[in-house]
């Protein structure tokens, strides 16, 4: 069976400091993978590198994304190939309206894939449909990107954008943090509704809580720049119960 993304032995550093130290991960179509791990483990770094943030230096390893060498692609081309990152800290962009930039984004993605531009009518219909999906106020959809949004609204806006762009692979970086239970349910619901047998998701989270709503096929523990443990969804519960020290102890014992 083909893979959506295949990360092999990925090493990356920033300012001379190695953050990812040989990371392996494979996601197949239709799968949801959860990545958990303590603060500073490198979860956001992994997400940023996959999305194409240029500050990081990749020293070793490879990433295959649906048959393409992901690391060779420009940031925007990764998005056009179907990769989406929901930011842990979404950026505020004063003066740029959400729907305006999404129309440009959608059309540039379509152009890249040899498709026709979306008509104004179809676009507005899509905005209505997808903002309803994440229960994002249509006023927010047309406001400046994230400007003056609450924490929860920013996260919902990320999922709204994801819904608009319909990626093959979505990476959600702590989309659950700072959300109350209602917002969490809405976000999770959005993700679940967008799931198809063809696409996949990597859900980075700190808390097991989210995984009650988005049920993963696999749970991985990212610790000190590596995936140190993988298991079925029950692993999340075990982590919640025992904390990460348990993993640490296990790793030390193994040495």
């Amino acid at each position: 069976m083909k893979t959506l993304i295949n990360i092999k032995d990925l090493h990356a550093s920033i300012n001379g400091k190695e953050i990812l130290k040989g990371l392996n991960l494979e996601v197949k179509p239709g799968e949801i993978h959860a990545i958990m791990g303590p603060n500073g483990a490198g979860k956001s770094t992994l997400a940023s590198i996959l999305a194409g943030r240029e500050e990081y230096e990749i020293t070793e390893g490879s990433v295959d994304f649906d048959g393409k060498d992901l690391l060779e692609l420009a940031t925007e081309d990764r998005a056009r190939e179907g990769l989406f990152l929901a930011f842990q800290y979404p950026v505020e962009i004063p003066g740029v309206s959400n729907v305006n930039f999404l129309r440009t984004a959608l059309n540039e993605i379509r152009e890249y894939n040899g498709q026709e531009q979306i008509s104004a009518k179809d676009f507005m219909a899509l905005v209505r449909e997808k903002s309803a999906l994440v229960e994002l106020d249509s006023k927010l959809a047309s406001r400046s990107v994230n400007e003056g949004f609450s924490g929860g609204e920013k996260k919902r806006n990320e999922i709204f954008q994801m819904a608009m762009l319909q990626p093959k692979l979505a990476i959600l970086d702590e989309t659950d943090s700072g959300l109350d239970i209602d917002a969490l349910r809405i976000v999770a619901n959005g993700v679940n509704k967008l799931k198809t047998p063809e696409n996949g998701a990597i859900v980075i989270t700190h808390y097991q809580r989210l995984l009650d709503y988005i049920v993963p096929d696999f749970v991985h523990v990212l610790y000190d720049g590596k995936i140190v443990k993988s298991g079925p969804k029950e692993l999340a519960l075990e982590l919640e119960e025992k904390g990460y020290d348990w993993i640490k102890d296990e790793l030390e014992k193994a040495h």
């Binding site: 999305a51 420009a74 925007e76 998005a79 950026v91 962009i93 003066g95 740029v96 540039e108 400046s144």
Partner: protein
């Protein structure tokens, strides 16, 4: 009496100009003469010209050129219903202009004068002494103009010097909009030195939309003086879309109470353009509000200057004065000198001013790119948002459209 000795560069420059045939108050003329005689062009040692050199102007090869344009160039049309008044090289082209006399509530004269006292500045003095033409537009009291009056200033030929003077009188309770724009037709090394003297009377509302769009190696100096009386509202929008060398000198004297003053500016520069905005709002009366927002985007080796002074005089209590200048530098070689200045002599006032200069937000560029926008589109979007903040405050949508399409044409931006 002819001058045989030419001591200064300014004297040499003047020797190539023809003294004006336009009637003007003799006292003003005497002042202008006295001011100019033996004087030199200001240098960068002069605080008022600290960042703007006049060397290129003093070295201009001046010619008197016959008029060449047969019709108003397409590029000079901004508003479809505007009453147009055309100047070529500072000379009123009645044949190309609309018949302003027919406009009800408006008095027009092409034998202008000046109601202002002498302004001790070289470009005012030059304009008084050498004005190429002078007009007066009088918006009669209670007149509400449906469509704007559009003053089209065109430079043509090589080394032409335009020195038109425009007097605008917005009478009590009138409401009007004037568009002033600069353009060029087959021209190079021309100088435009405009004086615009504005009287906004009690309860009058006047908007001037100034569109600077000369696409040539021309020089332009705009000198605006505005007096505002009780309950009046004045708005000046300065949109500098092109022009190799542009200097704007704006002075607003707020003389009456309950006055609103709005100064907006947007300048977008590239290559070796130089754009200098000097503004002064002088609050002489209490209970007024002034708002000033200038934003610039500078690329290439271009240079910008913003100097915004706000005076609040001793008796001008309860003033709300807000001033802000923001700049985005798109290249390492572009520079801006920004200096907001507040001088407050009253104690019960609310004033704020600020100046920011920076690059585009790289986090925002990255964020947009992760959504599939090319780097170029992402940057364009951020730049248009930045400058759009000024454009969206301009009420005349035709002016906004014109500015947007000029910028799209030049930079490939889309709004």
């Amino acid at each position: 009496m002819s001058q045989t000795l030419m001591n200064t560069k300014l004297d040499q420059f003047r020797s190539k100009l023809t003294p004006s045939k336009v009637k003007i108050d003799q006292t003003l003329l005497d002042h202008a003469d006295a001011y100019l005689n033996g004087r030199e062009f200001p240098t960068t040692r002069d605080e008022f010209w600290k960042y703007t050199r006049l060397t290129k102007i003093s070295n201009l090869q001046i010619n008197v050129n016959a008029s060449i344009i047969q019709s108003i160039p397409e590029a000079a049309i901004i508003h479809p219903n505007a009453q147009k008044i055309v100047f070529e090289n500072g000379v009123y082209r009645k044949d190309l202009s609309d018949n302003i006399h027919q406009l009800s509530g408006v008095q027009f004269s092409d034998k202008g004068n000046s109601n202002f006292s002498f302004q001790e500045e070289v470009f005012y003095a030059l304009n008084y002494k050498y004005s190429t033409d002078a007009i007066t537009i009088d918006i009669e009291s209670k007149t509400v103009l449906k469509d704007p009056i559009h003053l089209i200033l065109i430079s043509s030929g090589e080394g032409s010097v335009s020195m038109p003077r425009i007097a605008i009188n917005a009478d009590k309770f009138s409401e009007s909009e004037i568009i002033v724009s600069t353009h060029n037709v087959n021209s190079q090394n021309c100088l435009t030195n405009v004086v615009i003297e504005v009287d906004v009377q009690e309860n009058a509302k006047l908007t001037i939309n100034k569109v600077q769009n000369e696409k040539s190696t021309n020089f332009s100096v705009f000198n605006e003086r505005v007096d505002q009386a009780l309950n009046s509202c004045f708005m000046l929008n300065t949109l500098t879309l092109n022009g190799s060398w542009v200097r704007n000198n704006v002075r607003v004297n707020v003389k009456g109470q309950n006055v609103e003053t709005h100064l907006l500016g947007a300048y977008v520069t590239n290559e070796s353009q130089h754009v200098d905005n000097h503004t002064l709002i002088d609050h002489l009366a209490p209970n007024c509000q002034s708002n000033e927002l200038y934003k610039g985007v500078l690329d290439g080796k271009s240079t910008g200057v913003f100097n915004g002074k706000v005076f609040v005089r001793k008796d001008a209590q309860k003033i709300n004065a807000f001033q802000s200048n923001g700049n985005v530098l798109l290249s390492d070689d572009a520079t801006i000198n920004s200096k907001p200045e507040l001088e407050i002599y009253a104690d019960d006032v609310k004033c704020s001013h600020g100046s920011t200069t920076g690059q585009l937000d790289e986090d925002a560029v990255y964020y947009l790119r992760t959504r599939g926008l090319s780097e170029k589109s992402a940057r364009h979007l951020l730049v248009t948002a930045f400058i759009g903040d000024v454009l969206e405050k301009v009420e005349d949508e035709h002016v906004v459209k014109y500015a947007e399409s000029a910028l799209s044409e030049r930079y490939g931006w889309s709004f």
